[in-house]
Chain length 491, copies 2
């Protein structure tokens, strides 16, 4: 286990963790949001972020600090904590994004880390190469190699108690992301940003983002704190957390406020389009949309930024509570309905159900089947795998209805979509205590049929019969012919 | 159009309306929440409901007022508005629920309405018979007859400017609910509570609730203000509004607070189970769960009630904004993932897509396909109906891909799941501007196939070909054999 990071609880790929930041002498609970602070213009003062919003950590840009003479001098003299007046942990970004936008500059990895150390950063970032999506493989490989060289240099720099992050690149090549994750994990660096996903998010490619994170996570292993770099929209936090991301940074709260954009967990709204404020925060209960629109620019920006932060931090608390209660995927289910591209993201997440299953707790509150996507959750994957290990009598009735009477069968098992068959003795254990709708869906029936098929496959000598409630022919085709079919609704 | 109620905007079955309450000299915007006030113990003072939460209307129980000597005397002397210190509209419940629980009492409909009039009620309620679900039909019919007799008596009582509600009963018999709605609509009474749905909601039978409301609405017609009586959980407001309910009353905010229950739009939580407060209201940003738990009973109850109200009123604003923006069903989609029984409710709602289609606007922002349920939305039903009226050339290529080159076909139309085929000229009109996921679902493909089938059916002489992207065999079976199939992915 990495010394600076301890897991407290997990749900699907999500986890509650504690990131110990020795230089700030604080422990940050994850999932955590890092508000991005521009030292030249802070819309909401860092002290207020801590006191009013409960921010335990923030992130600021060392490149901007370096480039602004008076700020640099004050940062070097007084340190970032005093400069920003913030009591929590302060992470610094190297500005690799700016570097990639404005061309390289002539500094070494050592100098960059040393500068961050000198200004009192608690978590520093080396300059990596943020390779964009969809570049030719050769470029992705070459740039990843440069990033990896710099991480190795960073490993060698004496940075005292300061933590150092190790960005994971690799563009949209899952194998490169995985290799990058494995390499970063092999260094003694501390925090692992999945980098260059902003272009994916800007294009609403949440499915590709999920695939990139999933690949990075496979390389990183379970004990690495993962930062989804540049992901600041509360709509997608639950999805990101469910993939195993622990840190998010948000410049959105301030940037959006500047453009009169109002964040919600269902997407972004323009202030001019709002006739009602769909939120319970103090900004939204204290103002009407007209009130807000009538404010002077700077006040309106501050109020909108405060609302955006309230929404953002409330979503982080909601996610943590969901992890504690074991219903994170039910929260993701809801967020997936915000936009078709978020649904793509959730569907992509479920492509990795096998990977999520490894960290998903064996027992939780109750599994809710709330969509056809639910049929692909890690719990269903796990149940189907568990079927291989259950001992089956010579003849067995699998049924959605009552157990067989008489002695035609040695035993009767229950069948419940989406899980499929299980011995009645398991009815009281998770996930088979599931709550399911009366109006089921084809995906649930198909998953149940796949469970029956799996059982038949691993028990080729058993006589199996399936009592189903009018399953459609296309679903029944998934069950091997050796299984006798009895339609319980046809008598 | 009923004089006291005017529709401003609609979305699916939901609407924004204005209920004019002449006796209070106020106009209440609907959907509206009526907090239930017990005159003997108000957790949150009515004045605070108006000032802090924006309540425009509340409801209190005339039976309790009648039965409490000092309250009755003060109500008769000063009137309800002064007694409660509330500036908005005040509705009174007759107490038919209490009557049904504790046995009938010896008062007439006239007396009951006159008492409500004397104490200054703005909207009164006659004593109806709240027939529970699942009773024998004979009982439902007999009790409905009694309710209807009382409504007819109520019609004849001179109540001045006071509005009078006409409860719609009928138990779980849709035809009785519809007849009851038609009868009530035929009276000159003003507001239409769908009654006795509380037992359905207590048993999480949201599907049966939807069917009861849908039936009542068929009888009532579009211009009747509908009150979903006893429905106070914010989780189901969006569903209720989408069915066409305009008024909700909440005792839940206070009753739940008394039991340390914390409302969320995803369901109810016990305060003792919360490690984080998943909300942005002032209660939840000002306290930790431990803070709340440590408060003295009465303070804790008040704080929880305030939180519950914040959540409830924010959801009402969110629903109104969704109606304005034309994305109410996307909000229902999210709420449907709160619990499998809510999914049943949404699936039941879609059984009434035909009915919803009648009030659904022809054009909105953008249709989001965000679940397999989306394939059954009113817009899809309408598009399939519209296909019957489109003129089709002799030979037509329907395709998910590029138009046909050469002269094999007279024209090419686009095919987009879940809608199916349409002429390219319609691509820019709602709902065909839909945003759909890249990872589509079988329900969307099936709906698109049904659209193709419909077009083939009404144009039996046209030569149709379908260019599809690898649709499964079970979906292609829905397309008649006369349509040539071309798999665009197999070249
Ligand atoms: Mg894509
Ligand atoms: Mg039912
Ligand atoms: Zn707000
Ligand atoms: Zn709250």
């Amino acid at each position: 286990m990495r010394e600076c990071f301890e897991l407290r609880d997990t749900d699907a790929g999500g986890r509650i963790g504690e990131l110990t930041v020795p230089r700030a002498d604080v422990t940050v609970e994850t999932p955590a949001l890092l508000p991005v602070i521009n030292p030249n213009l802070d819309t909401i003062a860092p002290r207020r972020l801590a006191d009013e919003f409960g921010a335990e950590i923030l992130i600021t840009n060392s490149y901007i600090i370096h480039g602004t003479d008076d700020v640099r001098e004050r940062a070097l003299e007084d340190g970032l904590h005093e400069l920003l007046d913030f009591p929590g942990a302060i992470m610094t970004d190297s500005g690799s994004f700016q570097l990639s936008e404005y061309g390289d500059i002539d500094v070494t990895t050592e100098e960059i880390l040393e500068f961050q150390h000198e200004i009192g950063s608690d978590i520093a970032t080396p300059v990596d190469i943020p390779t964009p999506p969809d570049v030719p493989r050769e470029r992705a490989e070459a740039e990843l190699e440069t990033t990896q060289e710099r991480l190795e240099i960073a490993e060698g720099v004496d940075t005292g108690e300061m933590l150092v992050s190790a960005p994971v690149q690799g563009s949209t090549y899952p194998d490169l992301r995985e290799a990058a994750g494995r390499h970063a994990d092999g260094t003694d660096l501390d925090v692992f940003p999945v980098g260059a996903v902003v272009p994916l998010m800007n294009d609403y490619r949440y499915d590709d983002m999920v695939d990139a994170v999933a690949a990075a996570k496979r390389g990183l292993g379970a004990d690495a704190p993962v930062h989804l770099f540049g992901a600041g929209h509360p709509m997608m936090f639950a999805l990101g957390v469910a993939m195993g991301c622990d840190l998010f940074d948000s410049a959105a709260y301030a940037l959006y406020a500047r453009d009169d954009r109002y964040l919600t967990v269902r997407g972004t709204r323009l202030l001019e389009d709002l006739e009602y404020l769909p939120c319970s925060c103090s900004v939204c209960t204290g103002h009407s949309p007209d009130d807000l629109r009538a404010l002077p620019d700077d006040e309106r920006e501050e109020e909108l930024a405060a609302h955006n932060l309230h929404v953002t931090f409330a979503e982080i608390r909601r996610i943590k509570q969901a992890i504690r209660a074991g219903n994170l995927l039910e929260l993701v289910e809801q967020r997936a309905r915000s936009h078709p591209t978020m649904l793509d993201g959730y569907r992509a997440l479920l492509d990795h159900a096998d990977q999520l299953e490894r960290s998903d707790p064996v027992s939780k509150g109750a599994f809710f089947h709330v969509s056809s996507e639910s049929a692909r959750r890690p719990e269903v994957v796990r149940h189907h795998r568990r079927l291989e290990r259950l001992s089956v009598p010579d003849s067995l009735f699998l049924t959605e209805g009552q157990p067989a009477r008489g002695d035609e069968f040695d035993d009767s098992w229950r069948v419940e979509p989406p899980f499929g068959p299980f011995p009645r003795a398991l009815s009281r254990s998770y996930p088979l205590t599931a709550e399911v709708p009366e109006r089921t869906d084809r995906a649930a029936l198909s998953a149940a049929a796949d469970g029956v098929a799996r059982l038949a496959e691993v028990n080729p000598d058993a006589d199996l019969a399936l009592g189903h409630r009018g399953w459609p022919a296309g679903v029944l085709e998934r069950v091997p012919e050796s299984v006798e079919l009895i339609d319980l609704t046809s008598d």
